[in-house]
């Protein structure tokens, strides 16, 4: 009961358990050393790339953490929200882009990408709310026995249907764009960073900060945290659980779709594009402990750095092997994650 899954516990649990603190400090310290090694040994731009990717993993992992914390759903269709976001951004941006090629307009060219990027979370929000209402809500009303296992299977099946449904309707073609903004890369301390990457990073950071503020400081955000800490208590103070569940799922889906939309220049839209983001965001939540929202942000950047370092020192083909090895080590040595959050949710209280 002392430590649990909402954000505040991350700071609270700091200082309560020496063993976990040691592991956490070790991992964070190693990551900082890794960051220096990548910068010196490789190139600064690789560090920038890991930061951009890290922001996106964080955006996805925060969604996973909140869905597990509030609804106890191990969400394995989260990558498909990313995929949907990528498609939405593509189908909004492409017609705008071809129109602007015939009718050049500097202002619209700067704004059109934003329209595409922000259409993604809007569609994600609506689809997320629908998924919750049509799939998880009816199951919750029927039975809560074996809830975690049932919803795990449901989300895996949902992901399967979304991937193959997309394949059926849109085909397996890759739909991508070379860049959102056709302008010179920005120069920053001698490093050239494309505007697309800068914007993607800014969007991730602003969204995470806004979400953090929402959870900590608003009435509804507080209600979401309340549900994750004590469901009966939340009911007794007058919180409508159905509303909070739908909202939580919709927000998580919107954030994943936002990630898909803003990374379209890096990940082209195709049916299985969500799998890699899904695996890496699960890597993040296992690393920091399920349901730990604040930890998910830190973890996103650590995982991205691990990826970059692996690719740099072991070669691209080892990119998936090393993270999996690290995952096994984490599960063996610190199964509740490096921040020592207790894995528990509404059903275990």
């Amino acid at each position: 009961m002392e430590e649990s899954m909402n954000g505040s516990s991350f700071w609270q649990s700091w200082g309560t358990n020496i063993r976990e603190n040691l592991i956490a400090s070790l991992v964070i310290g190693l990551s900082l050393v890794g960051a220096v090694v990548v910068t010196v040994g490789g190139s600064p731009s690789q560090l920038v790339n890991s930061i951009v990717t890290g922001g996106m993993w964080a955006l996805l992992a925060v969604g996973l953490a909140i869905v597990f914390g509030v609804m106890n759903i191990p969400h394995f269709a989260h990558g498909e929200s990313f995929m949907i976001g990528a498609y939405v951004a593509y189908f909004v941006f492409n017609p705008l882009h071809s129109y602007l090629q015939d009718h050049p307009n500097g202002f619209l060219e700067a704004v059109a990408p934003f329209a595409a990027i922000f259409a993604a979370p809007l569609v994600g929000f609506v689809l997320g709310a629908m998924m919750e209402r049509l799939i998880f809500h009816p199951l919750r009303k029927r039975t809560r026995e074996q809830w975690v296992m049932n919803t795990f299977l449901l989300t895996v099946g949902l992901g399967f249907i979304l991937i193959n449904g997309t394949n059926l309707v849109l085909g397996p073609n890759f739909r991508g764009i070379p860049r959102y903004w056709d302008v010179e890369p920005a120069q920053f301390l001698g490093v050239r960073i494309s505007v697309d990457r800068l914007v993607a990073l800014a969007i991730a950071l602003i969204t995470i900060a806004a979400f953090w503020f929402f959870l900590r400081r608003t009435r509804t955000g507080r209600a979401i945290r309340a549900v994750s800490q004590d469901e009966t208590g939340a009911l007794l103070v007058g919180i409508d659980l159905d509303f909070i569940h739908t909202l939580t799922f919709a927000l998580a889906t919107a954030m994943a779709a936002l990630a898909g939309g803003s990374l379209l220049f890096l990940f082209q839209a195709y049916p299985t594009v969500g799998l890699v983001p899904l695996y890496f965001s699960w890597f993040v939540v296992i690393l920091v402990g399920l349901g730990n929202v604040a930890g998910a942000v830190v973890g996103g950047f650590i995982v991205a750095l691990v990826q970059t370092m692996t690719q740099q020192f072991f070669g691209i083909s080892w990119g998936d092997v090393v993270p999996v090895i690290i995952l096994v080590v984490i599960l063996l040595l610190a199964p509740s994650g490096i921040f020592g959050t207790e894995i528990k949710g509404v059903l275990e209280q």
């Binding site: 505040s8 507080r222 800490q229 004590d230 009966t232 208590g233 009911l235 007794l236 103070v237 919180i239």
Partner: protein, 235 residues
């Protein structure tokens, strides 16, 4: 204010309450006492909307509320302080209290309620920024009662506030309930601490095996032969 008529309720196939009838008038302080497993908590949970009645009627201010979901019951002006307390352990005392006023949309009213409960429990004011999970047992009870008061309820349902508390703290909690009652709050109290309860309440119902065995003025029940033998340990 509250009227329960021929209520039957329980968990799944297990029937706990059999044709319970009781009523609580406006401004009254009523106790529901009885041995373990008699159905006291079940009665409160059913009124609060956490359990659905199998049959019977629950009327609150002449409106039937049986089977209404718990979060809507709270909005109607009934606040349930459960035995498990159901606090939010990773939130500060202040945040717990603010959530108690979740249904209060007016910030001024919310602030007034906060001042009122912090005045009632000065201990909580000292602990305002501390996490609820790190409070002592007595402080947690106070926080639960205070949180229940934050929505300005007309009716307070309190389940075993003295459970697991040191005698000194039991007195503090009972004093707080008496003070609330003087403020005009109607209270239905479930207790095992029969002696003290009968001394501070107006009327009491005695629940045994899911049925109302006895009822009457608390002062009279203190003199009742059955009550004295079964609950007060007087031969």
């Amino acid at each position: 204010m509250l009227e329960v008529k021929d209520l039957n309720a329980g968990y799944g196939f297990l029937q706990v309450l059999r044709d319970i009838s009781l009523d609580v008038g406006e401004g009254e302080f009523v106790a529901l006492i009885g041995p373990n497993g008699a159905g006291k908590s079940t009665t409160l949970k059913t009124i609060a909307g956490l359990l659905e009645p199998a049959s019977g009627e629950i009327l609150f201010e002449e409106r039937s509320i049986g089977g209404t979901p718990a979060h809507e019951i709270n909005r109607m002006g009934i606040s349930f302080i459960s035995e498990a307390l159901n606090l939010f352990p990773d939130m500060s005392v202040r945040e717990n209290l603010l959530l108690g006023a979740y249904t209060v949309r007016d910030p001024q009213q919310e602030q007034a309620a906060l001042e009122f409960v912090l005045g009632l429990f000065p201990r909580l004011r000292e602990r305002e920024d501390q996490l609820a999970g790190t409070l002592s047992g007595g402080e947690r009870k106070m926080l639960a009662v205070a949180r229940g008061m934050m929505s300005n309820p007309q009716l307070l349902l309190v389940d075993e506030p003295s459970l697991g508390l040191a005698p000194q703290l039991v007195l503090t909690v009972f004093k707080a309930l008496e003070e609330l009652r003087q403020q005009g709050v109607t209270i239905l109290l479930v207790e095992q601490n029969v002696n003290t309860t009968l001394k501070i309440t107006d009327r009491a119902y005695i629940l045994e095996n899911g049925e109302i065995a006895l009822q009457g003025k608390s002062a009279d029940l203190l003199q009742n032969e059955h009550v004295r033998q079964a609950y007060l340990g007087v031969a």
